[in-house]
Amino acid sequence: MSPPRHMTNEDPFPEKTKGKLRFYNMRYCPYALRARLMLTLKEVNFETINIHLRKKPEWFLEKFSAGTVPVIEIDEKILGESLVIAEYIDEVYSKPGEQIVPKDPYERARARMLISNLFPKVISAVYQRLKKEENWKVDFYKYFDKIEKILAEKNFFAGDVLGYADYMIWPWMRYFGPHCVDDALTEGRFPNLERWLTTMKKDPVVVKCAIPPNILAKFAEAYVTREFVYDLE
């Protein structure tokens, strides 16, 4: 069964179910995937509304003027910003003792530093490659060497066990492989990253939220052509 179509300005507002969490998504948006991974990990009972990001419905912009995804909505409560949503879901929907955002204040601060300071640079480098910008290798090697070093010292970005930081960067790492970006992890320069990628691909939550690789690659063409097509499945 195909996933729900991305809603445009011509679609009427889909009526809400009282008390049910609604997740405004775009199937191939990496930021939105962060929220989807958390919702799936915590087994939240939620519904998904996919949004066409080039023809945004007015009713979506009225709820959230920034117009970005992800957004979550539960009755009157609305939250946007992927990391704000991720932390909210972890706090509110975790079973006791099962939060993945670190509890220790210093550990949490270090995780935030990684996710809010270093990862955006990594993400930017990935976009440079996806857009096939001329000097993409400069930033790419600079920041990927840094994360390779982290993974040389520990199994996961979160430490010994796959955790919050790993899920928060996964959406941009999905592109690496023969299906899409096949020229970046070359010459055995990133053996630990490759190890991490292999492990992440098998994680049950990652698998549940996976987009078929050929579809992801098709969507990624838009970073070069600038012609975004949303309903590919």
Partner: protein, 236 residues
């Protein structure tokens, strides 16, 4: 009583030896991101030392020991953190008396405030810097993004809600620039009456007063955005 600020260390200046157990903040006197942290430290009455850094001519040891892309930097023995929001949250968590957290503790309230900071504040801050640097379209961007802040104050007296709080501290350093150095006509249009009132009230708040820079001094520093030459130590 304003904070005492040591001279800004630059290339060639020796590394100031650490004191075991002492909290140290690598800062810059007029850095708005540093001010965010200083306000939370002041609010929690934390004892710490300031090491000011000349951000345009950093000591080599600073770049080697603290190779972060974020500023300010907090260090205490093995604890090392960088970035204003990361540090502010850590201080609030570690040094608050029971029941006296500055950051809202209700999950949704906290989410709402953090969303405001990540989205609306970031855009307003960017517009203010564009104004200082006289970038093209700065007035238009200011009207939109500083305008969004005015909209927030239509519903609540303060960014944090009924009372001045975390969100207000996190935006104050940049809003205190309005009125200075060529972005004064953002306010003088008379369009942002709520912001003007907020600014007057916030400037009198105890914690903000402790960490604020005198307007004439701030104005002098901000001329650097026009002349291209910053003097970090002229106030010392």
């Amino acid at each position: 009583m304003a904070l005492a600020h040591p001279p800004h260390l630059k290339r060639g200046d020796p590394f100031p030896e650490k004191i075991a157990g002492k909290l140290r903040l690598y800062s810059m006197q007029y850095c708005p991101y540093s001010m965010r942290v200083q306000m939370i430290l002041a609010k929690k009455n934390v004892d710490y030392e300031i090491i000011n850094i000349d951000l345009l001519n950093k000591p080599t040891w600073f770049m080697e020991k603290y190779p972060f892309d974020s500023f300010p930097v907090l260090e205490q023995d093995d604890i090392l953190l960088a970035g204003s929001l990361v540090i502010a949250e850590y201080i609030d968590e570690n040094y608050s008396k029971p029941g006296e957290r500055t950051i809202p503790q209700d999950s949704y309230e906290k989410g709402r405030i953090n969303m405001m900071i990540e989205d609306k504040f970031t855009k307003a801050i960017s517009a203010i810097y564009q104004g200082l640097r006289k970038k093209e379209n700065w007035k238009e961007n200011s009207n939109i993004h500083v305008g969004e802040l005015e909209n927030i104050l239509e519903t609540n007296k303060f960014f944090n809600g009924e009372e001045l709080g975390y969100a207000d501290y996190m935006i104050y350093p940049w809003l205190s620039y309005i009125g200075h150095q060529g972005i004064d006509d953002v306010m003088s249009t008379g369009k942002f009456t709520k912001l003007e009132q907020w600014l007057k009230t916030a400037a009198q708040e105890e914690t903000i007063r402790k960490c604020d820079t005198k307007p004439e001094i701030l104005g002098k520093f901000l001329t650097g955005y026009t002349t291209g030459t910053f003097d970090f130590d002229f106030n010392i």
